[in-house]
Subunit: 537 residues, 2 copies
């Protein structure tokens, strides 16, 4: 390549903007991007065998670092394959920079076979979409893409090279790159864009919430986003213990710090009627980086808005906003000066015995969870009731949840988290049906030799759908086979072995404990199939 | 359920419109559709473990029957996961009816976690999109969806209950169904819509092409779509042998009838410069259900339009049009009265010996191909050079190709073809990298006990990308690992066994022959991993 190619300038700019990992499933239109990786070893290319793995990995990486990874996707179908996990990233406010190769500009009007409407697809998940038009501008476009991904950011810290960020506030940006801009000479790397700090919460507004908390009227603080970082939780705990306000956390949050030494928070329930019970005594609901509760689905003759009608809703910090931590700190200084947070003790549950059930497998995890683990949770019905209590007093850890309810997020997310934090053990708790969406993430676990222990919760069914079928008031017998994952049974040992991941099967709590311990004691990826009774949950 | 639910009316209408199979991956918002399947056993529900399998199966089914299957998809992310194979269906002009569940109408503005822009996603692959607005109209909406899917249809035959159609002309239609319309009473099944026959080609236009063919100036007929049916090919062959016009067929066509007893046609090459050579003597290029050749990708300093500048292009029948067969028949009556088509002899290649190579595995397939097989071809580089010649004089068969170049189509397409044609053997020739996109189709092969023999061509790489990297003038060494599928090797035996499909591995032509024979002699699915030298292609 004579001179600097557009692709080289693009990758150079990403690297200079501290984007250091690219989860890639490239095709012909991205070949020069691939070639540029050779000249720029500061960018780590991670091959994923399906785009949904690449985007889910970028989500997991972004949640753990607060900085975007890049994805490299091939045209419209490649982006389409990655959309479901970009949906989860969008709902997690994760910064992600998608680089989507497109046909050369002159080629595009010819409607060749892979031509499709990339812009429309990108718009469904991205807060920022740009189609590059010149080679010269490609570097600047890349810098703008990074800035856009970080714009909704944690204002408490400066964003810059090597900085670490506590929250996961950001968004998905997508840069569409015609192939000829990549291969042409004339690329100009751009300077990393400085992200302006977001304005601090208004002192007056914080004061008004403080008055509310001091009023003696029952208050609930609902925490999400950056409020679920350790710093946010400590401030919230001080407020709780100074004012008597109750704390609730969003369930299946993007990232929550939990465990011994971290304030303990009751999670918001999944079902609307349970949430209504949780909130029934609350005169005020204060949203701290959280949204007003909305049920995931509507059901005949039930409300989608579970907040009791007499509960007044106040916003301390917006959902996805970066100022939740700062706002909680300010609020705590008002209402809880000198008050210390109350921290969960180190008190893991005892190891259970007997056959595995939907109620006891989580105690095995809670009993053996290693220090500072990252737990990627897509256990869905298998973990809904007991995972949070079983791990509440385990060693401190981060838990990453299924933010957008688009299944197939656990294994990819674990990939990204492990690459973001190579010195921390990653535990992936993965439901069986959802695992099949993006199973080839296991191959990337093996290829990159990631320290991930995957526990597949195999209940041989889409258990949540069985429950939903009953809940919508429908009955179906013959069609119940549409939720049945047996006949044939999925054998996750064979599937894992087929992708180079050593695996074992556990039918009792003792077997799960033994295998989980061993997996944690060895480097590299492992998989344990935990066999649960069918129709669990 | 009191009265007729909207979902029941929807399914009833589909059944009455001869839509008899639904490839489903449902969620909460589709529960009443699932429940309706119980009451209407005429609709066969086929569970797929990933939406890309469901849409690819609908594509394969539609190609073989000329009638749409339904898909049942869950909200935006479910549709997103199915888009890549809907892209292939769109490029194949396959009729498909997508039913996409959405949130209840009152729930939608609440932006709950799974909310996304379904309409924008649907628009990228569908020629017809409708969002239902009342329960009463749901039946009529379904009838319109079927009509839209069939509108671009084979005019030579009436469309109706039980009719069979030779071509694959149709399109993708998408009906978005808010959940509350499904669960409410008041549904009204609608009458199947009568599809008007498309107008016959104009006699005058056919005459003008006939004059061209009689002129003595060198002509090439490029065949695609319905022109590649047996009837279309017979007419084309008569024309060829009466006038000296050359025939070319689109490579990787949606469906082509081939083999002994069927006229033999040279395929259009994949690379632009090869196409230019194929057409260099042609003064006239006559498109018969085909498009003007366009290269799949642009490359630096090469043209995307390989037709030589002096070749004049004429359209006998449009791409995706249904009148290609009729037009060829009329043309043959003009220029070839009394002339018989020239048919390929039954003359399969001899069985090769020795280690498997990219050049000899296809001869094993050609030598042993059973009568009236359906060959789903996604072998890509492994089959590009030799699959067509190796099977040209095998017993008659249909070959289904990767129409939209969006990989992950082979295994799902085989699923749908086998369900469409339960009495015919289905052979799926599947490249390794592409197989990983939608591998869980194997589970559906086992669940439905489909007579599919899958041959995985394992060359441990994205071989086409290695070639493309060189072709764009780029070199990459370190980043070549992005095309390398070894470390760890994918073990397709374990992967198949994990989903209930018996499997074997072949390293020599003799082993492949023995295993292929045995798989064909036994009912149900089988998989053979054919190990090819790395960097094949």
């Amino acid at each position: 390549m004579q001179g600097t190619s557009g692709a080289h300038a693009l990758v150079r700019t990403l690297v200079d903007s501290d984007v250091r990992v690219c989860f890639a499933n490239p095709g012909t239109s991205e070949m020069h991007f691939v070639a540029a990786l050779d000249a720029l070893p500061q960018m780590r290319g991670v091959l994923c065998l399906f785009e949904g793995v690449a985007t889910g990995a970028a989500d997991g990486y972004g949640r753990m670092t607060g900085r975007p990874a890049a994805t490299l996707l091939h045209l419209g179908p490649g982006l389409a394959n990655g959309l479901a996990n970009l949906h989860n990233a969008r709902r997690a406010n994760t910064p992600v920079v998608n680089v989507v190769g497109d046909h050369a500009i002159d080629h595009k009007p010819l409607d060749s076979l892979l031509e499709s409407d990339i812009d429309a697809l990108a718009g469904t998940v991205s807060t920022w979409v740009r189609r590059s038009t010149t080679t010269e501008a490609l570097g600047a476009d890349a810098a703008d893409a990074v800035a856009a991904a970080l714009t909704c950011f944690d204002g408490a810290e400066e964003v810059g090279q090597g900085s670490s960020r506590t929250g996961t506030s950001g968004s998905v940006s997508t840069l569409i790159v015609p192939a000829n801009l990549s291969w042409s000479a004339g690329g100009r790397p751009a300077r990393p864009v400085k992200i302006p700090a977001s304005p601090a919460p208004s002192e007056e507004h914080v004061r008004s919430i403080a008055r509310l908390l001091r009023s003696g009227e029952p208050c609930v603080l609902l925490l999400d986003g950056a409020a679920l970082s350790e710093r946010g939780l400590r401030a919230a705990s001080r407020i709780e213990h100074a004012t008597g306000a109750r704390l609730l956390s969003r369930n299946w949050a993007a990232r929550q710090r939990r465990g011994a030494g971290v304030p303990l928070v009751e999670p918001l329930a999944y079902r609307g009627e349970q949430i209504t019970v949780q909130l029934r005594d609350a005169q005020h609901l204060v949203l701290c980086g959280a949204r007003t509760p909305v049920t995931s689905f509507a059901y005949p003759d039930r409300s989608s808005l579970p907040t009791p009608p007499d509960t007044r809703v106040h916003v301390l910090a917006e959902d996805g906003g970066a100022d939740a931590v700062l706002a909680l700190d300010m609020l705590a200084d008002h209402v809880a000066p000198g008050i210390e947070p109350v921290l969960a003790p180190l008190s893991p549950p005892p190891l259970p015995r007997g056959e595995l059930t939907v109620d006891n497998w989580t105690a095995v995890i809670g009993a053996l969870l290693p220090h500072d683990a990252i737990v990627c949770d897509e256990s869905i019905t298998a973990g809904m009731a007991t995972l949070q209590p079983a791990t509440a007093c385990s060693p401190p850890h981060d838990m990453l949840g299924l933010t957008g309810l688009s299944i197939g997020q656990g294994l990819p997310s674990a990939t990204g988290a492990a690459i973001a934090c190579p010195d921390r053990p990653v535990i992936c708790l993965q439901a069986d049906g959802s695992a099949m969406y993006t199973l080839s993430a296991l191959w990337s676990h093996a290829r990159e030799n990631l320290d991930i222990t995957t526990v597949i919760l195999n209940n041989s069914s889409y258990a949540i759908l069985r429950a939903e079928l009953e809940r919508v008031g429908a009955t179906a017998e013959a069609s119940a086979q549409l939720f049945d994952l047996s006949r044939p049974d999925l054998d996750f040992l064979s599937l894992a072995n087929g992708m180079g991941v050593p695996a074992g099967r556990a039918r009792t709590a003792g077997e799960l404990a033994r295998q989980f311990r061993r997996a944690l004691s060895e480097p590299g990826p492992h998989l344990i199939e935990a066999v649960l009774p069918p129709r669990a949950g």
